[in-house]
């Protein structure tokens, strides 16, 4: 019984499967537009954000953790001192996700009934004094935080491994956990993209958010419905492309950066056959039955075309069709930046899917750079 559950979880947690499930469920749970929202309501998914829903989420997460704790292998990964913060991150991010969605649902209901949001104070100029009303809250928060930190420090010793030895490369070598989403990206993109271009775009993209989403009427209180497109996309980036990737990178990647299920022993000799192909090979060899052309521009033509279509044809197409209202509200400049950041972020899941289902290595492969 236990073994079959463990086997089931091992299978389920493979990136191919877990990511697909997440990817397709995600937009029903966090609907970005009216269509998804209708289905979300029909399926009753809003119940996740009720108190009962919250208890159910936490009970199942805790149950999974306890069940896993009985397995020596699982325990050793979870309790590795530097991995403990990720458990905190996992529970913290889910708890605060629940808390913000819970309040957002309440406010959405109030707004639909033409009531002001919960945060609204009747005589809006009614202020409270910082001393003592704010100062005592700060004091309590600091004390609780210090207690957490002290208990954590007493229970768990800071790790210290063997002295640094530049000639003994550990397998796997992992970056600190908060960078593991980037390291996990290295599986799908070359280092210049995963390690330099994407981090830069994440920083620039984050800074650009307030300049693209400027509707002040939904500022200063929790809400979902009126902001659903931005919230849905942001949550996709934060929960799926960041937190989920960190968890895969830390807990599920072993020697050779191969995938290992949470209940699978790390086998140093696990070999995964890699016979990935480029777009050029798929088009010329598999589809047209020819040999690869010699001219590099012709050879990489299909890949270059795909990328140009992705970034230059899809945006205007969307602006004319499903994102029409959005485009009209934002104007062309904001819209262009917005869609560029979205498409860039989406390129990661797309590359993952094409790797798994088409064995795709590169869209464009040149001696100088690969995409």
């Amino acid at each position: 019984m236990r073994e079959s559950i463990q086997h089931f979880i091992n299978t389920l947690s493979q990136p191919t499967i877990s990511f697909l499930i997440l990817f397709f469920l995600f937009f029903f749970i966090f609907p970005p537009n009216a269509w998804f929202h209708r289905i979300n309501r029909k399926l009753g998914l809003e119940a996740l954000w009720t108190v009962k829903g919250g208890i159910a989420i936490f009970a199942s997460m805790t149950a999974l953790l306890i069940f896993g704790g009985f397995d020596a292998n699982f325990r050793s990964i979870i309790l590795k001192p530097d991995n403990v913060p990720i458990i905190l991150l996992l529970f913290g991010s889910i708890f605060f996700l629940w808390l913000s969605m819970h309040q957002a649902m309440q406010n959405d209901r109030r707004l639909r009934g033409d009531e002001p949001p919960e945060e609204w104070v009747k005589e809006s100029d009614r202020k409270v004094l910082v001393w003592p009303d704010l100062v005592y809250i700060e004091l309590i928060a600091m004390v609780l935080c210090m207690v957490l930190l002290l208990v954590w420090s007493i229970v768990l010793k800071a790790p210290l491994e063997e002295p640094a030895d530049p000639s003994a490369t550990p397998n796997p070598s992992k970056a600190p956990w908060y960078f593991l989403a980037l390291q996990e990206m290295l599986v799908y993109f070359d280092p210049w993209l995963a390690g330099v271009v994407f981090p830069t775009l994440i920083i620039v993209g984050l800074m650009a958010i307030p300049y693209m989403d400027t509707d002040r009427s939904t500022s200063g209180f929790y809400s979902y419905e009126k902001r659903r497109t931005f919230i849905s996309l942001f949550l996709f980036g934060w929960l799926v492309l960041w937190v989920y990737m960190i968890i895969v990178g830390t807990f599920l990647r072993g020697p050779g950066w191969n995938f290992f299920g949470p209940f699978e022993r790390w086998d140093l000799h696990k070999v995964v056959a890699l016979n990935n192909v480029n777009v050029s090979e798929i088009v010329y060899v598999k589809m047209l039955g020819q040999t690869l052309p010699d001219g590099i521009l012709i050879r990489e033509g299909p890949g270059i075309l795909l990328i140009l279509v992705y970034f230059l044809v899809i945006p205007p197409l969307l602006a004319k069709t499903s994102l029409k209202g959005f485009f009209n509200r934002m104007g062309s400049v904001k819209y262009s930046f917005f869609i560029f950041f979205c498409l860039t972020a989406l390129s990661l899941p797309l590359k993952m899917l094409s790797r798994w289902f088409l064995n795709l290595k590169y869209f464009i492969a040149t001696p100088w750079f690969n995409i």
Binding site: D82, P85, L88, L89, G92, S93, F96, S100, E119, W120, V121, S124, R126, K127, L129, V130, P132, L134, A141, C145, W152, S153, L156, K157, A158, L160, E161, E162, P163, A164, D165, P166, A168, S173, K174, A175, P176, Y178, F179, P191, W192, G195, V196, I203, L206, I209, P210, Y211, D213, T214, R216, T218, S219, G220, F221, Y222, S223, I231, W238, F369
Partner: protein
């Protein structure tokens, strides 16, 4: 004074008043003066809108991030007394920290505090996003926040190398390899060969972005020194400046956001 012990109130004593400039106040005017007369409390306005003190709204995350930063500063200074950033000493100094120096769990508090700060800063950003608090007029403060986010992670990253154990140098090696892949400027990055004068290639392991980060071509002693200086001096100073601007902007933008 000793005679009427019953009425003695330490919060009204000469010493208390000399430090805090007023007795502990119980009436409105005094409470306002309390904030105005204290350099630390003066980071706050005297009065704030009622909704903005609700824990349910801010989760105190920004404040806690700042608090953890302060804890890290204090414990970090203590650690600096006993730690030498050289290949010969770093590792053994860390062992001594746990075994012979009278610092107890300072290293633990510093390490777990660093992890905690990364988490609280992420959650703070998440809160700001979910309340739409980045919208005008707060858009620039959000941008400052993003810089603080990057600084927090860089602080954590540079500190990771200092114990000089296997975990440390290989994590930093993985990280700094990314710099080697920088387009044009990294030795393995695309276009590196283009950056040259005649036949002389300007981007080499002795001159590329990774070298600039580490102070040498691989993670060795110079990198340790460089990360130590970044970690203990440069980044904290820059972070403090940005935090000052961040807090100042919170006030100038009308205090913590609320419904209009």
């Amino acid at each position: 004074m000793a005679k009427d012990k019953k009425n003695y109130n330490p919060f009204k004593s000469l010493i208390w008043k000399s430090i805090f400039r007023t007795a502990v106040p119980t009436e409105k005017r005094g409470r306002m003066m309390q904030v105005l007369n204290n350099v630390f409390l003066h980071l706050h306005p005297v009065a704030v809108p009622k909704h903005s003190v609700k824990v349910k709204y801010t989760w105190c995350m920004g404040g806690l991030t700042f608090f953890v930063f302060l804890v890290l500063t204090v414990t970090g200074v203590l650690l600096m007394f006993y730690y030498r950033p050289t290949v010969e000493n770093a590792y053994t100094d860390i062992i001594d920290l746990g075994e012979t120096t009278p610092l107890g769990i300072m290293r633990e508090i510093h390490r777990w505090g660093a992890h905690l700060m990364v988490i609280t800063v992420w959650l703070h950003m998440f809160r700001v996003f979910m309340t739409g608090a980045y919208k005008p007029p707060r858009e620039f403060n959000w941008a400052i926040g993003v810089i603080l986010l990057v600084l927090t992670m860089l602080l954590s990253f540079t500190g990771y190398l200092l114990p000089w154990d296997q975990l440390a140098i290989w994590a930093i090696t993985v990280g700094s390899n990314m710099a080697a892949a920088t387009p044009l400027l990294g030795r393995e990055g695309p276009g590196a060969a283009l950056v040259s004068i005649g036949d002389i290639n300007l981007v080499t392991p002795q001159s590329d972005a990774k070298f600039g980060l580490l102070g040498e071509s691989e993670v060795r002693g110079m990198a340790l020194l460089r990360f130590y200086v970044f970690h203990c001096v440069a980044f904290p100073l820059v972070a403090v400046v940005f935090m000052a601007v961040h807090f100042w902007r919170v006030r100038k933008d009308g205090g913590v956001s609320g419904p209009m």
